[in-house]
């Protein structure tokens, strides 16, 4: 590519540059818009951070409350039978639960007359 080709391209770009420079928005406007956006950014960030902090604190507080609350179950109110309780029922288990009764001596009647000595 020759130097004249480059020159032609450069001239075309220079013409475009002149036209766009003339149409460019004023620097002051763009800068003011950027500063306005920047000034909005800080309060927005602070507000967002505060909202997030409030949510986190709320969640943590509610979680602590749940953990510290006493368990509201009255164990006397009902009976509970375990599903494997039947395994404890061994043969003759009733004997272990009931104490055998011994009759009172007065109610005992022994037939002393019929006692015989069988051996000398």
């Amino acid at each position: 590519m020759s130097q004249s080709d480059d020159k032609e391209l450069a001239d075309r770009f220079a013409a475009m540059r002149r036209a766009e420079r003339a149409a460019a928005p004023a620097f002051a406007n763009v800068r003011a818009r950027a500063i306005r956006r920047r000034s909005l950014r800080a309060p927005l960030a602070i507000g967002l951070a505060a909202a997030v902090a409030a949510i986190v604190i709320g969640v943590l507080a509610s979680r602590n409350r749940v953990e510290q609350a006493p368990v509201g179950i009255d164990l006397r109110a009902g009976s509970w039978t375990g599903p494997t309780d039947f395994l404890l029922d061994t043969p003759g288990h009733w004997m272990l639960r009931d104490l055998p009764e011994i009759a009172s001596p007065s109610s005992m009647q022994f037939d002393t007359t019929s006692y015989r000595r069988t051996s000398s």
Partner: protein
């Protein structure tokens, strides 16, 4: 660089920045304005900081390019989520504002049309070299590519643009 110095530089470079924003936004004047104001806000916020490794101009053009890409990504996401009003078109509005249109010539329209047909990287390089009058090395810095890659895109882009402009000529 102090904040006042930075603002002064921004003011001096503002017209060129607008031209670059227009190029990054495919000639969409409204979008270019949004991108430019976002880029200035990024700089004034301190989110983009000049580290002195390149010229202020190169750094500024790089910030505008990145802002334009982020802006385009956001717009694409909005489009995917159907947040755009019905009836809007995806293609950028190539028509300049009335004042610019009055000043625009056929040659300028031809150049814009031919540039639109080039791949993005070639278009960006030609803009940076011919419009912004940067060296190929500086343009490579702005585009964050190697000098060799920039040279290749520059030569190919120039050749293709020349062909397109020749084909448009009556």
């Amino acid at each position: 660089m102090t904040r006042d110095e930075l603002l002064q530089q921004l003011e001096v470079l503002h017209p060129d920045c607008f031209g670059w924003a227009m190029s990054c936004c495919d000639g969409d004047r409204e979008e270019a304005g949004d991108v430019l104001h976002n880029a200035y806000a990024t700089i004034l916020d301190g989110r983009a900081q000049f580290n002195g490794r390149s010229s202020t101009r190169t750094w500024l053009l790089g910030v505008i390019r990145m802002t334009a890409r982020a802006h385009r990504r956001r717009r694409m996401l909005r489009w995917l989520r159907w947040e755009r009003p019905l009836g809007t078109t995806d293609s950028p509005d190539p028509s300049p504002d009335p004042a610019a249109a009055a000043e625009g010539s056929d040659e300028r329209a031809q150049l814009i049309g031919a540039l639109a047909k080039l791949p993005g990287r070639q278009r960006e390089l030609l803009h940076l070299v011919f419009y912004q009058e940067l060296s190929i090395s500086e343009a490579a810095d702005v585009l964050a590519i190697s000098l060799g890659t920039a040279r290749t895109h520059y030569e190919r882009g120039k050749q293709r643009l020349r062909e397109l402009l020749g084909a448009q000529r009556p």
